[in-house]
């Protein structure tokens, strides 16, 4: 287990400090949640980990109960008086080991359990509080902590230098011009006063540059006023997964400052589930301030272009049957539900839903920082079984998803569970269907 040497060197006062950290993290709604669980266990089948391994520790209530029993032991009068009776537990090394394994290793913070909890307990919010306690003790699993550290130290989670970023964009601009046959096609950099600043997943310039070109092609077709920033381009925020609010706020601050520096009207977020959640929903809370600009998903922007007739899509260009995977942080926890469907219905010939879908979708297993926590790779791949079966049942040839973490996980599931599908982003499919030329007028 990563973090083990640190755990073994912890002193009693470190555990006391961690309990104080827990007390500090718990707001009113957290305590209401902790007081509400009746351990009915009805949440079990809502979790893709439990569906895969049937392990008691994978039941959401069991993960929640880890935090509850420490809360009871130190922060609840009933638990302090009737310790054994209420299941209150000391926060010691053995307990912390269970926390690490379950809160980091058996949860993607997907929130499906919250939706299916009889009491309505926001279980992922509590799991993240638990992660926050572990982060304060320096016990974030290695892969995740190094990803967070890299983002903190270099400005993006892949350590891409400013020179590399600017050169990649310049190269992609040439590619776009060649593809569109239009020398005016641009990937604008540091264009002050543009309508929006576009943030991307560092995975795009590093490994999948064509997804960035796909977005640029759509923006070009729509005649959009947009820009990239040479200072900051990373839509991700892995501190959301590690539970470290101070680093999460630091990363969020950079995005805000980049938008303010360029004086844009909106911050538009590339296809990234937790990137959307972090920038749209969490950043203002971490920074404790409102943003002076809109924060939107690129899916909302592209939907607007289609509806306004600014772009036209030819579904015949995507003739294979396409199904859609709903990223949890974008859909269930983010409220972006219909836009991706609208785009796909315009962009592909044959679109088929998975069952269940939308807010009841199953997590693919790639969220919660799982892709960076190599300690749990085998568990992650196995836990994707439910999603794989969903995909197989659709008999689709293409799986679309508007999230780069989901794309990575689905690509692995494709191999691991022998699905025989092609995994693409929603924008890639939209870009393939874009009809270049004079924009159509009227509704789309």
């Amino acid at each position: 287990m990563s973090g083990k040497p640190v755990l073994e060197s912890l002193r009693p006062e470190d555990f006391k400090a961690a309990v104080r950290r827990l007390a500090g993290l718990l707001d009113a709604s957290s305590v209401v949640n902790l007081e509400s669980c009746v351990r009915c266990g009805l949440c079990a089948e809502s979790c893709h980990y439990y569906l895969d391994d049937g392990d008691l520790r994978s039941i959401p209530a069991a993960k929640l109960n880890l935090v509850i029993r420490v809360f009871k032991r130190y922060l609840s009068p009933g638990g302090r008086i009737l310790r054994g009776w209420t299941g209150a537990r000391d926060f010691d090394a053995a307990e912390v080991r269970e926390w690490i394994d379950s809160l980091y290793g058996r949860c993607t913070l997907c929130g499906r359990c919250a939706l299916n909890c009889t009491m309505g307990i926001n279980i992922p919010a509590i799991v993240r509080k638990g992660r926050g306690v572990l982060a304060s003790m320096g016990l974030v699993p290695d892969g995740l902590s190094s990803t967070v550290d890299l983002a903190r130290d270099t400005g993006n989670n892949m350590g891409i230098s400013k020179v590399e970023w600017v050169e990649t964009v310049a190269w992609l601009e040439e590619e776009l011009q060649a593809e569109t046959g239009d020398p005016s096609a641009r990937l604008p950099m540091d264009a002050r006063g543009a309508d929006f600043l576009y943030l991307v997943n560092p995975r795009e310039p590093k490994f999948y540059p064509l997804t960035l070109t796909a977005a640029a092609k759509i923006f070009h077709a729509a005649g959009a006023s947009w820009t990239l920033s040479s200072d900051f381009f990373d839509v991700t925020n892995y501190a959301f997964f590690s539970g470290d609010d101070s680093i999460a706020a630091l990363i969020s601050r950079r995005a805000k400052e980049a938008a303010e520096k360029l004086d844009v009207k909106a911050l538009v977020l590339s296809e990234c589930g937790h990137g959307f959640g972090s920038n749209r929903w969490e950043a203002p809370e971490w920074l404790a301030e409102k943003t002076g600009f809109e924060v939107k998903s690129v899916l909302q922007v592209v939907t607007g272009y289609i509806r306004e007739g600014r772009i036209r899509l030819d579904p015949a260009r995507n003739a294979k049957t396409v199904t859609l995977h709903d990223p949890c942080r974008l859909v269930r926890m983010g409220g972006i539900v219909e836009e991706q469907r609208f785009i796909l219905r315009q962009a592909v010939k044959d679109f088929i839903e998975m069952t269940p879908n939308r807010e009841q979708n199953y997590c693919c297993g790639g969220g919660g920082g799982q892709l960076s926590m190599t300690d749990y790779t085998a568990r992650r791949r196995s836990a994707g079984r439910t999603k794989s079966e969903q995909i197989r049942r659709t008999q689709a040839r293409v799986v679309a998803t508007p999230c780069h973490n989901c794309l990575d996980q689905l690509a692995e599931l494709n191999k691991h569970h022998k699905l025989g599908v092609v995994v693409k982003s929603v924008l890639e499919l939209a870009a393939e269907a874009v009809v270049l030329g004079p924009p159509r007028t009227g509704g789309g």
Partner: protein
């Protein structure tokens, strides 16, 4: 008898006071303001959480465990009926035979459901391993109360027993799991507000293929 009656009243007030204190203590923790602009309406989410969102067809967990869901509903209805019997006997309100019948049937059904849920917790391996002593205790204490309320509603001689036991139960409620009843609505409201603001619940668009 009068002393027991006053005892029930005093225990009820102590219990209510302690529960109010516990809830207020929880609510006195910080309420971080929402800085992110809402996408949906918190009020719509709360209305969903306290209404349609409780229905079994809205919740996969309830659909998969329909018997437990119904059992839980019947159990909690029975508990309300049991407390109804206690209040009626303690205050001495005359009731029509029909209302007595409703209270007795609901209590009996609640007791049956409670025992069923207890049995499930004991028999099912995961439920057993997930449980703490308080989970069994809370169920057993309430089941005994329901049996007592039902018996006392038929036999006046058992009323002092019910009163005596109710004093214990009322004083126990703030200490253990049963206090979740005071947090249920708060938890559902918090849930509805969270998902409502984000526009995730209730679904914004009516057209949905499942």
């Amino acid at each position: 008898m009068n002393a027991l009656r006053w005892g029930v009243l005093a225990a009820g007030l102590i219990s209510l006071g302690a529960l109010t204190f516990i809830v207020l203590k929880a609510l006195s923790r910080r309420h971080p303001p929402f800085f992110a602009a809402p996408q949906g309406r918190a009020s719509s989410g709360i209305a969903y959480a306290l209404g349609r969102g409780l229905l079994p067809w809205e919740k996969e967990s309830a659909r998969l465990h329909l018997a437990v869901y119904i059992g839980g509903f019947v159990y909690h209805s029975g508990i309300f009926a049991g407390f109804g019997i206690l209040i009626v006997l303690a205050v001495g309100v005359p009731l029509s035979p029909f209302v007595w019948t409703v209270l007795r049937v609901a209590s009996a059904a609640g007791l049956t459901a409670g025992l069923g849920l207890l049995g499930k917790r004991i028999v099912k391996s995961h439920a057993r391993r997930l449980s703490v002593p308080d989970d069994y205790g809370a169920n057993i204490f309430v089941d005994i109360f329901l049996a007592g309320a039902l018996a006392a509603s038929f036999g006046p001689g058992l009323v002092p027993v019910l009163f005596g036991y109710s004093i214990f139960l009322l004083l126990y409620i703030p200490l253990g799991k049963i206090r979740h009843c005071f947090f249920f609505f708060l938890s559902r409201i918090s849930f509805g507000r969270f998902f409502g603001r984000r526009g995730a619940l209730p679904p914004l668009k009516p057209e949905r293929e499942r």
